[in-house]
Each structure stands twice: as structure tokens, then as C-alpha cells.
Amino acid sequence: MSPPQKHTQPVRSRSQRIGLLLFFPGFIIALIGALGAGSIYPKLFFLASLCFITIGSFLYFSAAYLSAPAGIRNNRIMFASLSSRGSIGVIIALFFIAFYILMYWFPFYLEHFIAMFHPLSRMLRGKPAEQYFMYGSLYTFTIIIMGARALMKYRHSRYQIVRTCAVIFSQFVFAFLIPSILAAFNEPEKYVNYFWPLSYKDLFPSNVNYLLNFEGAISKFLLAWTILLTFAGTPVLTFFFGKRWYCSWICGCGGLANTLGDPWRQLSSKTLASWKIERYSIYSVLSLIVITTAILWLNHLFGGELLGQLSGGFIRFYGFAIGMIFAGVIGTGLYPIFGTRVWCRFGCPQAALLGIIQRFFSRFRITTNGAQCMSCGNCSTYCEMGIDVRWYAQRGQNIVRASCVGCGMCSAVCPRGVLNLENGPLAGRIKSDALPLIKSFKSGI
């Protein structure tokens, strides 16, 4: 195959170029703010940057998506440098990684940028911003802007519309507003859409004790909320709807992947080899966190004699290796290289747990429509979890996979209407419908 031809037609329309012309000043204003000006004129730099970026992005996305009739428009994804691991993609990845490294370990260098968030933080939480408030705000803002893009791009699909609104809402209310309000009332600043084992500290003895000893009813409520969602909500909701209720509707990591990460969803590896690695790595992380939680409780029951100082060390190690490096730097920083759900697929203990329930005790499945599949590969290509959806679809088999987050994109991109996310009886869930002719044949190569 020869490399794709160069396009002589303008790739971007005029309104798109105007959008970009507004976006970049917003970005540069933020940069100047970060270099020092942010501490001097925090409000001005914050608002100016916010306005330019918001208006520029909206213009760009509406020109890109609303000008054509509604439908799947994945045109040029495989040629565009940004979305096909070209130089723009690599630069963006480096930028993301640099941001994460500074934010986690050298927040000092982001001092002026963080200062731009002081006014907002004072308004919401009654205290100045620190790096995590800055990160949370930026995260929420990104989900809103890129969520708007997803809404425009996938506006022909009501499933995508409802789901995208849900992740935007969840991030904005549960992971931004509520924690900020809690902070304003001097309560523990908890993201209420994260539970154990993803939010691994939630069920550690130290945290449980902290909440129990905290003044006021809200902290008790938060503890009850965590325990309820972990032990009752998770299994029940997953039984009825599959893990998507969390991974594609509520979770902030999933929210970022399906909004900011959408341009890169096709980069996940679909090979059998990567599936093998996935199973080793994700269940290792889950095991690690389950065993640790158990040991910490034993240690607690024995009055700290079992581990002594070790428990704190472990929490720090897990936070560093898994929480920061895996979930942050690799999981998000490398969106433009390995696709959007690296963390969700290879690392997330919540996804691992939900996946086991989804695989064995759930009404959820992706139904394959008779023999209509023509093996084109769109579904596999656009599955962010790297599931080779076509492998099942072309043999008329339903897709019941632990890793499927129910984003619905395989169903949306399928040009023959072969795939449908459905909840139904457990009997015959993994059935093979096969071709009309050979219904009796189920196994094989």
C-alpha cells in the first residue's frame, strides 16, 4: 500500500480557522499567566483565557461537525497527524505528560498558573487554590468543552447524547461542585462519584476512622455512601446494566476518555497479545488493592503490630506508582499514542471488579444482528477498550466481555446496524446466532 495521498483541498473551513485563531490566544494567555502574570492579575488572565478557549473551541467544533448532515464522520482520522500518532499527536502527548509531572511532583513550577484559580477557589471553597483544585477545575472544564464536541459529533445518536450529558453532569456536580461545597463547610473534600477500589483509600482503616471521628453528620453520610455504593450499588447496577452505568456514565476517568480522548479512541491495540497483557495487569492491580485493604484491616485489628510503619509506605507507593504514574502520566498523558482508555483497560481496579461482575452476573450484552456483519472492522477500530468486536460479530456471536465499558461506539459506527447494547435475560446471553444455514455450528477457528 502506498502512503495516503496529500490533500489539495483545504482541510479546514474558514470558520474552523477563525475558531483556531481564537483558541490559540486563549492558550497563550494561559501560558503567560503560568509564567508569572497569573499571580499578578489572576482574574483577568483566568477569564480572558477561559473566554478565548471556550469561544474558539465552540466555533471550531460547530464548523467542523454542524456544517455536515448528522452521521458518523470519521473522515481523515487515519491521515490527520493529531489522531494517527503523527507529530502533532506526539507533541500533545509530551505536553500532557509534562503537565502531569509538574502537577504531581513539582507544583512549585505551576505556582502562577495555580494562582489564576485562586479567585474561583475562594468563591467556591472560601480558600485559595492548591494544585488539585486547579487540576479538578481544568478537568471539569475540559470535559464540558470536549463534551460539547462529542455532542455535536454524535448528535445523530440519542444514546451518545444522553450518555455524554450524564458524564458531563456527573463530573460537574459530583466531582467539582459537591467537593467544593464540602470544602467550603470544612467537611472532607470527597469526590462522590468515586468508590473503593478505584478510590482505594476510601475503605482503608485510616480513612474510615478519619470519617468516623470527624465532627458532623456529613462525614458519616459520606462513609455510608461509599460503603453502600461499593457493596450494594456496584453489584446491583452492574447486574442490570453492565459496567457501563459506571465506566461510561458516572466515572470521571471514563468521562475524560470519552470527551477529551475521543479523537484518539481508535489507537487502542486490538491484538490478542494486548488482551493477554490486559488481563494480567488489570487483575494484578485489583489483587494488590484487595490484599492491601485486607492486610491494613488485619493490621488495624492487631493494633498496628503487624505492619508498623509499613502501611503508610505502601499507601505512598501505590499512590505514586499506580495513582500518579499509571492513571495520570501513562493513562491520560499517552492518550494520543495508545488510545484513550489505557488506564481503564490495563490498570483500573474498579473496572476489573465491575468487569468480573459483567462477564458472569449481568443482563448486559452486545447483541449481534443475525448474519448482517460484513467484517468491515469499524467496530473493532473504534472500540476504545481494544476489543476485537468484529471477531464476534462476523460469527454471529454476542459480545460479552469483561472489559467492555458500554460506550456504544461500536454500535454507532457499524454501517450495517449489526450491534446493539441490550439488557436482557441471562439465558442465552453468549449465544451464537450464526448464519441462517449453519445454526448448529458454534465452535471453531
Binding site: Q5, P69, T367, M374, S375, G377, T381, R416, L421, G428
Partner: protein, 444 residues
Amino acid sequence: MEHVVIIGNGIAGITAARHIRKHSNRRLTVISDESKHFFSRPALMYIYMGHMKYEQTKPYEDWFWKENAIDLVCDRVRKIDTKGKKAILRSGSSIPFDKLIIATGSKPNKFGWPGQDLNGVQGFYSLQDLEAVKKSTAGIRQAVIVGGGLIGVELAEMLVTRGISVIFMVRETHFWGVVLPEEEGDLVARHIKNHHVDLQFETELKEIVGDSDGKVSAVITGKGEKVPCSFVGLTVGVSPNIDFIKNTAIETDRGVLINSCFETSIEDIYAIGDCAQFREPSTGRRPVEQVWYTGKMHGETVARTICGKETPYMPGIWFNSAKFFDIEYQTYGTVMSQQKEGEKSFYWENPKGDKCVRIVFDSTTQAVLGFNFFGIRARHTTCEYWIANREKLPNVLCSMAASNFDPEFFKCFEKDIISQYNSENPGRMITLKTKKGLFSNRLT
């Protein structure tokens, strides 16, 4: 060990190979010079549009073939020695076989138009054709597509994504007139025009004109109009790709002639897929069926016969699907462009005119015979069940929701469909029985 040789690595040949491997450990060789590995032909358009790379159109990873002991030979069969049981290759070598399956697919039609071999004039069938389209359309502004079938629409959609203006010349009075009834044809035509394609009906190609470099510069229509353009796509159907078989002992007509077990006139030689022609097609089916799904079924059935369990082809109820830009199309059973004697049809279209359902039924028994769906996904098994069991139209309409395969939260049209039926058939009121819901998706 018996050696089965398959010419052609398309869906038919590869399905045969996979299923022979499933049932036996016979030696297997697949020959093709189009590509080393099997890829999905219907996905060619997505490579051009940038939705996928060639790699992603391959349904199996490259290790698959070795793992399953399927030998791939990249060469072209020049001749078949039916007596000596050998396939003679272009490279000069030959491959002996005990059993041979011919699965060479189709080639695009060209009807001898003046100028049809100019640079920038081509059909669209193979990977090589795709490469040629990429080259010929780089940087051009105007293209003409001749022939309004499925491949023509795909080509139009492809070119539009690269900002090329497309004039789409169709001979019939409405779109895809040989297959679609008028309403469906109009619905598709409106949609194609929405995508800024200049769709012209009752327009025939008379001649293609080139410049001094042998490159296309214009086409001349049947009405004598001259239309300047830099690319001409000829999508006026395909025919079996069997030229190299024509002078052998294997009997051919339009395609390689076969009986219901895919056996040709020569023992141990079989033909499947687009290139095969049934001497006696089963009822309601055509002798040559050039679609993906039938190729797959042919491959699966012939594998059984070759592995010693003679199995005649029983294709069951016809189905097919396609996509016209953004409008998905599914059909089950028989829906002809013109209704036959003794048949009637119920047609519903949404007010926006981009979704429709047609149900053809027997006018005396009311038994449903076929469905057309545009812009609504339907459940294959349910529609098939209704047709096979000659379910009556009113019953089908009452349980329409059971056939709905649209994703969750999509607007449901069953109520509108039923109220239209009721207004057309006063005195025979029917009501919707089941509804689609989050907990109650009908899975049976």
C-alpha cells in the same frame, strides 16, 4: 493427505478454507494476487475516507493463517489443467490439487464506451482500484460517476469527503430503480442531494473524452451534453471474473455453472461466491448472487461437501443491507421494485422523509413476504421468523417493537406506523402490543 486448493482469498474462498480447517486437517492452499491476506472488500471505501487503515480491514491477524495451517500463495492462476489436476500460475510454477475451489469473485463491467480505458476512468472493486482512485483523484475538483447502484453511492460518498464535486449519472427514473420501489428511491435520492451530490436521472453515458496526455477531460451524455471532469467512476454492475476459465473443460455461462452442491461440470472442481452460477437456483433466488453474505454461506456449505458430508445449498430467506451516506438500509425477504400480482405493500415514512418501512404482504392471506427498512435498524431473526412463518401483517405491526434493533433511547416509530395503518384500514383497528424499554428489550 488430500490437498484442497482455493483460487481467490475473498470472503467465499476464505470462509471455505476456515470451515474446511474446522472439520478436517486437509492440506489447504489459498491463491490470490490481490493481497496476501484476506481483507473486507466492503470496507475499501473507509480506507479512502480515512476511517480505517488497510491493516484494520483485515478480519484476522496475520499469525492466524500459519496457526491454522492455511498456506497463502501470492500469485495469479493463469490456467487450470483439469486433466492433470494442476493450477498453473503466472509465475510459471504450478500447484497440484486433489480438490479445487474457484472463488475468483467479480470484475467491474465496462460496456465498450469510447474512452473507457483513458487515465482517470475506472471501476471500483479491488485494492488496486482503490490505489488508482487515490492517485487519480488527488487534487481534482470535478468527478463523474456513472451508474446508480451501491458501489456508485459509496464512490460518491468517498469523493465528497475529499471536497470533490460529484455528478452522479443514473439511467433509471428513480434511484437504484432495478431494486428499490419508487418511494425508497426518492428517499435515498433526497438524502444524496443533501450531501451536495449532483444526482441526474435518465442520464446515460455516451462517450468519454480525453486530453492529449490520454487523461480524461470530459464525458458526453446520451443527450449530447458535454460535462468536463477529471475522474470517471464506472459503477454499472459487476460480472463473474472467469475469463481464464472460459477455454477449459469447465462449463461456464455468465459464471461458472454449478449444481446445488457447488460442483462444476468437472469432478473435484467447485465454484463459490460471486463467480458461481447455479444451474437451478432455489426458489426466489437468482442464479448469480453477488453479495458478501451469500459468499459466506457458499463457503460454509461447500466446506461440508468437501469434507465428505455432501450438503446442498439452502440459503433460506434473502437478506441484505447497505448504507447510503448516513441512511442505513436493511432488507429481508422479497421486496421488488414493482409489486407482483397478488401482492400489496404497506409503506410508512417519517415526516422528515429520512426513515421508512415497507412491508410487502400477500393480498389474500395477509402473510408478510418482505421488509425494507431505511434509517431504522431491524432484528434479523425476528423478520426472518415472521416471513418463514407467514405471519399476518396486522400481527406483525402489533409486535413491531420486537423487531426494533435501534440503540437505547432512540425515538421509536411503532406508534406512528400503527396509526397510519389504522387510518388506511378503518374498521380493522390494531394496537401496539409490546413496547421497547430499558429493561424489556425484546430478545426473542
